[in-house]
Amino acid sequence: MSNRSIRWLLNELPGLVSDGVLDDAAADRLRERYPEPSSLSGSRLAIIICAVFGALLIGSGVILLIAHNWEHLGRPARTAIALLPLLISQGLAGWVLVRRGESTAWREGTATLLALALAAAIAIVDQTYHRGGDLEDFFWRLSLMLAPLPWLLNSSSSAIIFLASLTWWAIGAKSDRLEVIWLWPLALAVVPHVVTVMRAERRGLRAANLQWACAVFLCIAAGLGLEWRVPGLWILVYTGLFALMIAVGTAIRRDEDGLWRRPFEVVGVAGSVVLWLILSFDEPWKNIGWQHIHNDERFHQAASFFDVVLAVGLPLAALGAVALTLDRKRHPLQMAWVSSVPLVAVLWPWVASGNTLDAKFVAAVAFNLLLFGVGIATIASGIRNQNLGTVNLGMVVVALLVVVRFFDAEIGFVAKGLAFIVVGIGFLVANLVLARRLRSAEGETP
């Protein structure tokens, strides 16, 4: 339970006892089960934040000083400057591993310093000897040498630096049309650390930050890692990925958590809205599938195969996660948000095989209806649970759909106008029905 919820519960206990809901013994047992969160946890967090930011700023400052290029110092002095901070931070990290392994602040601080010292060392050697290629080549070498650090020092800051470095490399390499097949195997290096943190402190800030980094990385990596040989596979990959994020995010959180502690759900829902809006046009459905496979360019065989693995595996994994972790009665809204998976499982092969004009149009209409249906379901769920955030999310989804369709040049003005009027009348009727129900409910209340 989060500290905020524990404080709320402890504040409620005297009232519950005086109202006779709980007896003193039960209240004491609850106090024993949920002790007052120590204000020290806040101080400890401040110490960790100071350690990480201290190391981050010093390391970045050193890199900027190096970037000035002190060429008059000569090669031997510059080599020493490259290796000395690396040696010192390695020594410090070794000492922390042996003597201060229990201190999160020490581990996070030294891991950040070591990561930046390594970046500085590579940079200064490159600079001194005019070595190294583009920036992505620099990040590739840095990523390789950072990979074991998150697990070794149990450090989330180095995991985040590692993922950022890996992403930077992949973006650069992909834009230069280089192969990025090693993105996924290398990214697996953070998994042991993620498992450790999720086991030890699932509700903590470290776990939340780490999940944010992983969620954002997965979103970018899913697109970058694709070889794009079979057009349209990205639809399956991203639909599966976002649904999987929503299912897993729902499974690992508890209801009282705020948005910052639910990164997978937030990224999954936001990503789904953007993806569905894109798929509500017929353009992305054009020329997809095996019949349009690119054969005139050279592709990496293993990477092309891995695209198919992702396109099939991610939707299946999402369905598996939904079946295993979501409860239809407890999570009706989440079930609605992952309904895109069965929808694309039917639409994609159909559009890809027939590829008639109608199929594309039907797919686009289906995603319009999905956005509208899920938007309304979200609003309804928010009203039922009196959750303003959920109501607003539903309204944003419907509003975005309306804006996109209003400016959609491919639909005639008359058809658009009539559709808008019909939907508007639907809202007014709903308003009338709800108002009547409310009045009759108030009339029944004594």
């Binding site: 290029n69 002190w70 000897y129 190294g132």
Partner: protein, 201 residues
């Protein structure tokens, strides 16, 4: 072995690898600079900036393709051996790229792009040269950029020391002078009287 000891052992291995990678780059470069064979590569400089490694003069080489030796299978972003020859003007040119190092003479171990047929129907391969940047202090790099802009496109080249397949840039020359000397010949606004007009292409 306890978890802590295992972590410590792996950490020491990682630390040694991190140091070894840096040291390997330093040693190879020093050996090439001290005992490597010198080649001149024609180029056309421009000046961008790298947030991590500072300002540099980006090197665009006049020739970044090599012919492919007979019998070499299709090349796809892989390591290749490219012999170096000197052309009639005294600049470096690439011999036929192969998967084996040449029996004699200087060569570069490079990463290839894809091989394809050129306009004459000959099989050539694009090369990814490891020396693409000449790092300078902030002020000097900007001055080179400004001078080149004012003086127009000048003949430029780098000298590269090559040893055992590795090449390290030794110096950047513009108008036949080392770049720092060239800058001291009058700054950005003055065109040296003895400079001949020409293109680096």
């Amino acid at each position: 072995m306890t978890g802590k000891t295992l972590r410590l052992v792996i950490f020491v291995v990682l630390a040694v690898i991190q140091l070894a990678v840096a040291a390997d780059a330093i040693i190879r470069s020093e050996l090439a600079l001290r005992s490597g064979e010198v080649f001149r590569f024609k180029l056309q400089p421009v000046d961008p900036v790298d947030a991590f490694r500072g300002r540099y003069v980006a090197l665009r080489f006049a020739v970044e393709k090599a012919p492919v030796a007979e019998g070499v299978p299709p090349l796809h972003q892989q390591e290749i051996f490219v012999p170096l020859v000197v052309d009639a003007d005294g600049f470096a040119a690439f011999g036929p790229a192969d998967l084996q190092p040449p029996a004699s003479g200087a060569f570069l171990l490079l990463r290839s792009g894809f091989d394809h047929l050129d306009d004459n129907g000959d099989r050539v391969v694009s090369l990814i040269l490891p020396f693409q940047r000449y790092y300078m202090t902030e002020e000097l790099a900007k001055e080179v950029d400004r001078s080149l802009w004012r003086r127009g496109r000048r003949p430029a080249w780098v000298t590269v020391r090559i040893r055992n397949g590795a090449g390290v840039i030794e110096d950047l020359f513009i108008d036949g002078m080392p770049v720092r000397e060239w800058l001291s010949t009058g700054g950005p606004d003055v065109i040296p009287a003895d400079a001949t007009d020409g293109s680096s292409e």
